[in-house]
């Protein structure tokens, strides 16, 4: 039981480490370590609860987050430098959230993470879009979140769950 707690602690440490570190490559390594421990954590959870599904989730997490993503990010880094890579990284993480999360709310959050990644990008490399555009984009996101909220409410009333990967009535 206590091994899992140790993993959780290590994960927190990696978050702090990532928050502080300057260079991008070490940030990616931090991400790599963090996702390694998250997969171990899930794996041990699986061992405890004997639930097969967790093993597979752990394995996919391990495969993607530890091997594929860092590789791609390193390849990307080679030709563009500076704060650009952080924003690119955050957008991709946001997108990641949307792909791998089931709940509707987490998808909205994923969307927002992507958008603030873009704001960071705009601020970093082009020291901000023309002021008027920034404000309207901000209002735009506000409106879209409101409408998304309306839809989540409607899904909840109709489907009595907000689990998006059950929303598969329309096929083919």
């Amino acid at each position: 039981m206590h091994i899992i707690n140790i993993f959780a602690i290590i994960i927190i440490f990696t978050v702090f480490y990532m928050a502080t570190v300057k260079r991008i490559t070490s940030l990616i390594n931090g991400f790599l370590v963090q996702s390694l421990f998250i997969s171990l954590y899930v794996f041990s959870e699986g061992v405890l609860t004997k639930n097969m599904e967790l093993y597979s989730v752990a394995f996919i997490l391990f495969l993607l987050k530890v091997i594929v993503i860092p590789l791609i990010l390193k390849q990307l880094i080679k030709n563009i430098k500076g704060a650009f890579s952080i924003s690119l990284f955050i957008t991709l993480v946001g997108m990641f959230l949307m792909i791998f999360r089931k709940k509707a709310i987490s998808q909205i959050i994923g969307l927002l993470v992507m958008e603030n990644g873009l704001f960071l990008l705009a601020a970093a490399i082009a020291n901000g879009l023309p002021f008027f555009i920034e404000i309207t984009i901000f209002f735009d996101i506000l409106v879209s979140v409101m409408i998304l909220g309306v839809f989540v409410y409607r899904i909840n009333t109709l489907f009595t769950h907000i689990d998006t990967n059950k929303l598969t009535r329309l096929k083919g």
């Binding site: 958008e115 082009a126 023309p130 998304l148 839809f151």
Partner: protein
């Protein structure tokens, strides 16, 4: 000046229809409004027909022949759709599927969508272009989820999520474009200014940026790997809305991509964008052909055929010279034919109460008027000569052959043949044959009077552009093509 008028009327209609309670007055106001808008657009086209100049005001609005051409499409389809939705919504009211409050909400959203789509085409500022497209997605998502049934909500949810992801990526691309512009010292994000400094921009960043733009706005345009939301949204939306979605919204996304292609062509050169278009065009054509073959629902089939035609437009854009003229012509023809077909499908679905093609039979006996027009439309969609789609496909093919890209044209012809076969196979099964016994419901006869007006209104365009493109239309198309080839 006209630009303000158009935007003003649509905004005014949106607000007004919130307050008018009596449905008759509401629909009358709306129809008149939209006809007025159409006449203004027509006047605008007449102006630039003369001198081919472009109007730009306080470096925010910008209307060159290309955007006016798209305005024409939006105007016509809006007018047809509003006429149809008058009877469509009144019929829903009568069967009290929706309350009268919902009806006025429908008109509010309809006019808001019209406002947003006109905005997209008029704005010069690329950031503003992004915001306008984001607005169209949000409003149309509400309209797709109008009926508050399980399927339509799911479709709306998928539509809004996928398109928002796509548009965020497009924002990513726009920012990169702006970054490239700031490197050369420019500050304004206006399209005209980009054109001026296009040659000085750093090609490496532009290439990456264009990829993001292409994927971003591509999701909104329904290019294949990103098209997943399109069949659900189009088949679940109420008919006038799916007509708008297919006819107008996909075209606005294509408009946005064209705007960026002009910049990239100027700075990086033609082959980069044309190879991208050619690849994705063929991909959309092929996959759409596969889907159309196995479809069971009329509206989904029409949605997939929109993907197919978007693929054709992309292939058209990938051939320089006359190909661009053909692609623009095809955008116009497809907008007309597809909305025409959606109207027909709407009537059929209303009559048979289901979209499933295995149940629908003998449409020609039950709805003789819609039936005949529908089968003619089916042939038009398949690309048979007397209709306009054949003319534009033929121009694209001509450009293709002149461009010596025989493989693309070969595949193009092969997929067109399969799709023609699939469409005829499906539609001839539902049009002819013995109608099911229990479908003698007489309720919809009056419904068809008003809808037939818009059917005929669109059918005229199908035939008019069939054999030879009328001179004034081809002049506008040439001007628009000039803009692209700049």
């Amino acid at each position: 000046m006209e630009i303000f008028l158009i935007l003003g009327i649509t905004a005014f209609l949106a607000i007004i229809s919130f307050f008018i309670k009596n449905y008759k007055a509401l629909s009358l106001v709306n129809v008149l409004g939209h006809l007025a808008v159409l006449s203004i657009v027509a006047k605008l086209t007449a102006d630039i027909y003369g001198n081919g100049a472009s109007i730009s005001m306080f470096n925010f609005f910008y209307a060159d022949p290309l955007s006016i051409f798209f305005m024409l499409i939006i105007g016509i389809i809006n007018a047809a759709s509003i006429i149809y939705s008058v009877s469509y919504i009144s019929n829903d009211l009568k069967e009290n599927i929706i309350s009268s409050a919902k009806a006025s909400l429908y008109y509010v959203l309809f006019n808001a969508l019209a406002f947003a789509t006109f905005l997209v085409v008029m704005v010069d500022n690329l950031g503003m272009l992004w915001i306008a497209i984001e607005l169209t997605t949000l409003i149309s998502a509400l309209l797709v989820g109008f009926y508050n049934k399980k399927n339509s909500i799911e479709a709306a949810w998928k539509y809004i999520i996928i398109c928002s992801v796509g548009i965020t990526i497009a924002l990513f691309g726009t920012i990169l474009f702006y970054y490239a512009a700031t490197l050369t010292g420019a500050t304004s994000i206006n399209w005209t200014n980009f054109m001026a400094i296009a040659t000085k921009l750093d090609p490496q960043i532009l290439k990456v940026a264009f990829l993001f733009i292409f994927v971003g706005y591509g999701t909104k345009a329904g290019i294949v790997p990103l098209h997943t939301w399109l069949p659900d949204a189009h088949s679940q939306a109420p008919t006038p809305i799916s007509m708008l979605l297919s006819g107008v919204l996909l075209k606005t996304a294509i408009y946005a991509i064209i705007r960026f292609t002009i910049i990239i062509n100027k700075s990086v050169g033609i082959e980069y964008s044309s190879s991208l278009f050619g690849l994705f065009g063929l991909l959309s054509l092929g996959i759409a052909a596969g889907f159309i073959l196995v479809q069971k629902d009329i509206k989904r089939l029409l949605a997939y055929s929109s993907i197919e035609h978007i693929g054709i437009i992309l292939i058209g854009l990938s051939f320089p010279g006359i190909g661009i003229y053909g692609a623009l012509l095809h955008t116009f023809n497809h907008a007309m034919t597809k909305s025409f077909m959606f109207l027909g499908a709407g009537n059929i679905v209303k009559k048979y109460k289901t979209g499933n093609m295995n149940i629908i039979r003998g449409v020609i006996n039950l709805l003789p008027f819609t039936g005949t027009l529908f089968i003619l439309g089916a042939f038009a969609l398949g690309g048979t000569p007397p209709f306009s789609i054949f003319l534009s496909e033929f121009t694209i093919l001509m450009a293709g052959f002149q461009n010596k890209s025989y493989l693309t044209c070969g595949l193009f012809l092969f997929f067109i043949a399969i799709i023609f076969g699939a469409i005829i196979h499906h539609f001839s099964k539902i049009i002819f044959g013995k109608e099911p016994a229990d479908s003698k419901v007489k309720g919809y006869e009056d419904f068809f009077r008003t809808s037939s007006i818009s059917l005929i209104f669109l059918f005229i365009f199908l035939i008019a552009f069939g054999i030879i493109v009328p001179s004034f239309a081809s002049k506008i198309l040439l001007l628009a093509a000039e803009v692209i080839k700049q």
